[in-house]
């Protein structure tokens, strides 16, 4: 390889990079111009849009939006802003109507394009704007999906937000469906459909769906499912039992405190920890002595939760003061001392 070879190679590479630089400059310029035009149109339409959303008889916006060059981008921005900052806006009939009228065709086109990022964005927007008109096409798409990749998972969420219960059946086709995806589906369905699906999941044998159903009950506070949750305390699957305990802790209610008793001696520390937490949050006085035993547990989290549990009782500070001096276990004494002054909790 000679000097001239390297000279030619360097010149070619430099020219290639310069060409690429030039292309990127032109592309940047175009993007800037597009951004500028879009910003102008957006600014121009903000007032008529706001007026239309508060009073749909003011149709200036409808005429204006039809006459702009960047209709899709501007409308997306306006609707996104409205949905993000207005409570309950994604159920707004006006958002649905505007998006279905102006965005159905462009979105159908984008979903058939190769650009993966734009397809994902579009699925999010369909969900945000609650575009039911696209549900049949999306369901067809899900039926044809071979893998549960990022796009298919978003497709499932979008369909669930459009209240398509068929997604739960479609999910059965895939192996190892993540628990969080089931939870996302339950969260997005309307209450009646969600409750029906929760019931089916609790009666079924799919552990991921059951786990998700218990988690959903926890944060939705659906007390009507309490008997089902309490039944799962006897499950042979540890993860299900722990989730059932978590759910009871979040519901802050259980029909029979005796159901908790076996968990104080569990060989799984997570179960002992949740038993202590539940005893505390529900102020089960009968377990005060048991909590003292757990204060000397070998696992830090169990000791932590046992001491925390005392803070829920009216005489908790007295008990903690006593235990900080007299508990037989040194770590138990330290933990009791900590909870006399410590305030728990993270930023929420």
């Amino acid at each position: 390889m000679t000097l001239s070879f390297f000279l030619v190679l360097t010149a070619i590479l430099l020219l290639f990079q310069m060409g690429l630089l030039l292309y990127l400059i032109v592309r940047k310029k175009r993007r800037q111009r597009l951004e500028e035009e879009t910003e102008n149109e957006y600014a121009h339409l903000t007032e008529p849009f706001a007026s239309y959303m508060t009073d749909s008889s003011d149709v200036r916006f409808l005429y204006a939006v039809k006459s702009i060059d960047h209709q899709q981008i501007v409308l997306e921005r306006l609707l996104n802003g409205y949905v993000a900052f207005t409570k309950g806006a994604n159920a707004s009939p006006l958002v649905k109507q505007l998006s279905e009228e102006f965005l159905t065709d462009p979105y159908t086109r984008i979903l058939g394009q190769r650009n993966w990022a734009r397809r994902i964005n579009t699925l999010h927007y369909i969900e945000d704007f609650h575009m039911r008109s696209l549900a049949p096409a999306l369901l067809e798409r899900l039926k044809n999906a071979g893998t549960l990749d990022v796009e298919t998972q978003q497709l499932v969420r979008t369909l669930a937000s459009l209240n398509e219960t068929a997604v739960v059946d479609e999910l059965k086709r895939f192996l190892n469906v993540p628990v969080r995806l089931f939870i996302d589906v339950f969260n997005r369905l309307d209450k009646a459909n969600a409750n029906e699906q929760i019931k089916t999941a609790l009666e079924g044998s799919d552990e991921a769906a059951k786990h998700a159903a218990l988690a959903y009950i926890a944060h939705s506070g659906a007390l009507s499912f309490l008997p089902d949750v309490e039944r799962e305390l006897a499950s042979s699957h540890t993860e299900i039992r722990i989730q059932a305990l978590k759910t009871i802790y979040r519901l802050e209610y259980m029909s029979d405190p005796d159901l908790l008793a076996p968990f104080f001696d569990s060989s799984f520390w997570t179960e002992r920890m949740f038993a202590a937490r539940i005893a505390g949050i529900m102020q089960f006085s009968r377990y005060k002595q048991t909590l003292s035993t757990l204060l000397g547990d070998s696992v830090w989290w169990v000791r932590y939760s046992a001491a925390e549990a005392y803070t829920h009782f009216s005489d908790g500070d007295v008990i903690l003061a006593h235990l900080s001096e007299n508990h037989p276990d040194r770590y138990g004494r330290d933990m009791a001392a900590q909870w006399q002054t410590f305030r728990p909790g993270g930023a929420r």
Binding site: M1, T2, L3, F6, L7, L9, T10, L13, L14, Q17, L20, L21, L24, I25, K28, K29, R31, Q32, N80, A84, N115, W116, A117, R118, I120, N121, H124, Y125, D128, R157, P178, V179, R180, I183, D184, A215, H219, W300, R303, Y304, Y331, D334, M335, A337, Q338, Q340, T341, F342, R343, P344, G345, G346, A347, R348
Partner: protein
Amino acid sequence: MQTFFLVFSYIIIAYMLFSSLSYILLFMIAFRKVYRESDLDPRETTEDIAGNERTFPVSILVPAYNEEVGVVSTVRSLLALEYPEKEIIVIDDGSKDQTSARMIEEFQMTEVAFAVRAYLETAEIKTIYQSSIFPYIRLIKKANGGKADALNAGINLASYPYFCAIDGDSILENDALLKTMKPIIESDGQIIVTGGSVRIANGSTISRSKVETINLPSHPVVLMQIIEYFRAFLIGRLALSRLNILLIVSGAFGVFHKERVIRAGGYNKKTVGEDMELVVRLHRLLREEKSKQRIEYIPDPVCWTEAPESLEVLRSQRVRWQRGLWETLWTHKKMIFNPAYGSVGLLSMPYFLLVELLGAVFELGGYFMIFGGFFFSLIDPKTAGVLFLVTIFYGSFISALAVLLEEMTLHKYPKISHLVRLYFWALTETFWYRPFMVVWRIQGIFAAFRKKHNWGDMKRKGIST
């Protein structure tokens, strides 16, 4: 003798061509992913987990040593982070200034009798404080033991299953934690570490943890560091992450699974490259356990840091980095070229040894032969010319390519003048910036043999208003 120099020159040419090709290969691996995701609407992708109860709570650890100037603003910026549940733990590693006093005063902190778990052995913990305004802000005052020791103390106090280690001088974007935790949440815990991109803040305007205006600094030394970060983060780390062989998660910002780190023994106090050493050790354990868990990097810029403007501070930083690299590779030398460690042993470790560590030695040899060839006839001028062109290719062209990759994908710098300035400065790299780096990196290798530890010294101006 001339034959020796000629052979030596050929070895350097071959080495530089090989290294350049490896960069181009990494570039190609990185390009597909960044390009594919470049048009994603960032708000939409994190919206789902922003108010979600199923995000894992995170403990944010801020090790601080003599940070009285910046510690309060750093903690204030962390308060602004959008994340469902977090706690902030500042670890004052025996500062000689008013670091603790500033925290206690600003956040009205009081002493608490905390029963700290001793998962990891650390220097003596003197006092633990808790804020009465924000109970989730805690301060550990401890005896000096170094950054790794401070982080280990933070891990002992952390309540949550994941911890995020950040440098005291870094500013995180409001959605940084959400973006960084997203892969962990979506993988159902299969990803145990995520590292975010670090960007240089000099020149940009950052206000209340939000980047208001992105701009370029005027100082050429800082400009070159921006280009270097593109090269390291966009080409190197992303491609290595794709192959699950990423060995570095920046100490400035990374999220770790706490139990995994405790099982690995925490941060190593015997090295100045504790961030890299921990990641290599985690890889080692994952391979030894035949685990499928992963360490991942996300390309989106989430953390802004202040880059040194003076050559002296930059020198000290680079010497530390190189020394840390050497110490890590030496500690885990058993893994290099060892098939038992899979692609980490066969690809990643050799890459870091041959390209990242020894690259400086070859480059120095290259500069020596170019001068020797042109001015002292050590080799014939044609070979010196070839060497010169290959050096430009290895240094400037690859860096310029990184600038173009950034523009093709993330295009975070808004003006055309930014792109042009960065590109042409990148082309000058071989002629002035790289020789400095080469010398300092070699000094770093020598420094590894002098076992003096310190926290590093950075004169801060502050990056957020």
